[in-house]
Amino acid sequence: MTEPSHTTPSSGAPSDAVLAVRNLRKDFGEVTAVDDVSFTVPRGGSLGIVGESGSGKTTVAKMIVGLERPTSGEIYAAGHDRSKPARGGAERRRRGREVQIVFQDPYSSLDPRQPIAAMLDEVLRLHHEMSQADRRARVVELIDLVGLDERQGQALPRALSGGQRQRAAIARALAAQPEVIILDESVAALDVSIQAQILNLLADVRDDVGVSFVLISHDLAVVRQLTEEVVVMRNGRIVESGTTTSVLDDPQEAYTKRLRASVPGPGWSIDQVREAASLATD
């Protein structure tokens, strides 16, 4: 694994980073949702963005994929600046091939009228010059890659369970062959036993296709499982960053310590709860 790189290069797109965010800021009227956020994701690496509601982590994700426009700051993905809206369809589609996203809610993130295979076919047609036969083969491959069977591939989303829909959403993100996939609380809505399957699938996918992940999550255990580096956000700012191991095992900031202490786990007792809660009254 490469050394963690939190230092922000002074200018241009860093060549070793597949995603670089620099001094990112987003104001909604009077409210500053994201304030001076910088981080980089090395090629093939993965970053967790941890925070609670109102921390600005989802706004960061939306700015990276172009669903929100930054007030100021820079975003580079695969060497291309994407801090301004895309000019024209070609640039829009190229950005689609650089960064993709998987949302939290598996129920509303698929078009209810479109079978999974048709959805994947549409994405392939958008991005790649492929014959119909090649597309068909690739659709089968993608469906298989995320652990769905052929019948599920032909089904409408409503015939699938939450976990199966999330697999379909992952297949859609992979269809464009992006270099980065933003996972915006992508396993948060799933049952524990399904969550484990999807986390394993994501790890498999990363090993197979070498994509980088940016995992937006409130769940520290999930972040630990899937990322090497992490930034902790609070009230729009990064309060702590480093390797996931060091931040979670030896947090430096009071907020990170409290966050860490609040997570229930084996051997966790009500006294620890109280301790975590009393830390809260700072």
Binding site: E52, V192, I194, L220, G265
Partner: protein, 344 residues
């Protein structure tokens, strides 16, 4: 199913006969015009001052169990079995007795915002039951509300009573819900995923408050959650549900180190560990079954179980007592000592 009533675990101090007894609860609901099982033979007891966790994935029936106890089941529900509160059969209650029961059983929901009228002030909401059902004067009701808010860690209660729900954060609003649930001096608190929608730091605060209240008021708490770790941290005992039935009841401190049912063990192992990452998680194959999909004469978990043998498919297992807990597994004896959770 005599095994279900066996109570071998140490009860918390001061507990005599249980406050809540749920016995062989079976629930059916019409699905596509046909009655289908939702709960199958759910039995447990809960003593005053005790916290019992009810853990399960979606479709396990944990929320329906709570709704049956609170008598807020959907229309046309078919309920068999008995629920006794303080020795009285809940289904027989009506009129004044039912009103009294509703006062003694309080409920806290997952999404506080969905259960509070957004255009009325917090004070209105909190004191309504006191004023209308118990005839408490508005001023006295407000005073009691402020007092109770202080107990859930809201020091400036008087100011909060004048605010509207949208002015409060989710964590604050959930504390308001808990405080107002406690105003009628209930003896049983049904908490249905009360912290699932909240941040983890807020969750810790709410859980600490609930635990204090339980001790102070000798409150019996039935805590519904999908989070095995959370339940085992804050409950004396934990019941694990799968496909509409209880598959294990265990002293919480033993759930991870010495579970009795393979599902409990698998559930614990499937969660990622915050203190170390695994190459791959020990995922459970397939997806959780609901009661209506479960085979009637086999173990519902058999298809996903790594300890599955032919015997699991041939009969529906009973809940049996073993080593101070209860488990619904025919191979329970064989598997003793082999189910401890390890993340290796």
């Amino acid at each position: 199913m005599t095994a279900t009533t066996i109570e071998t675990q140490p009860q918390p101090a001061g507990a005599g006969s249980p406050l809540l007894e749920v016995d062989s609860l079976a629930l059916q609901l019409p699905v596509d015009g046909e009655y289908r099982p939702i709960l199958r033979g759910v039995s447990f007891t809960l003593a005053a001052g005790e916290a019992l966790g009810l853990v399960g994935e979606s479709g396990s029936g944990k929320s329906m169990t709570v709704r049956a106890i609170d008598r807020i089941l959907p229309p046309r529900a078919r309920l068999e079995g008995t629920i006794r509160f303080d020795g009285q059969t809940v289904a027989d209650l009506s009129g004044a007795a039912l009103k009294k029961y509703r006062g003694e059983v309080a409920m806290v929901f997952q999404d506080p915002r969905a259960h509070i009228n957004p255009v009325r002030r917090v004070g209105d909401f909190m004191t309504e039951v006191l004023r209308t059902n118990l005839g408490v004067k508005p001023k006295a009701a407000a005073e009691r509300a402020v007092e109770m808010l202080a107990r859930v860690g809201i020091p400036d209660g008087a100011r909060r009573l004048d605010q509207y729900p949208h002015e409060l954060s989710g964590g604050l609003l959930q504390r308001v819900m808990i405080a107002s649930a406690l105003l009628t001096e209930p003896r049983l608190l049904l908490a249905d995923e009360p912290t699932t929608a909240l941040d983890v730091t807020t969750q810790a605060e709410i859980m600490a408050i609930l635990d204090d209240l339980r001790r102070d008021f000798q409150l019996a708490v039935l805590f519904i959650t999908h989070d095995l770790d959370l339940a085992s941290a804050v409950c004396n005992r934990t019941a694990v549900m799968y496909a509409g039935e209880i598959v294990e009841v265990r002293q919480s401190s033993l759930l991870h180190t010495d579970p009795l049912h393979p599902y409990t063990s698998a559930l614990g192992a499937a969660r990622p560990d915050i203190s170390e990452s695994a190459h791959r998680l020990q995922a459970i194959a397939g997806r959780p079954l609901s009661a209506l999909e479960a085979p009637p004469d086999a173990c519902a978990f058999a298809a996903r179980c790594q300890h599955h043998e032919d015997v699991c498919d041939s009969s529906h297992p009973d809940l049996v007592a073993i080593d101070g807990g209860l488990t619904r597994c025919v191979r329970a004896d064989d598997l003793r000592g082999r189910l401890g959770v390890s993340h290796d």
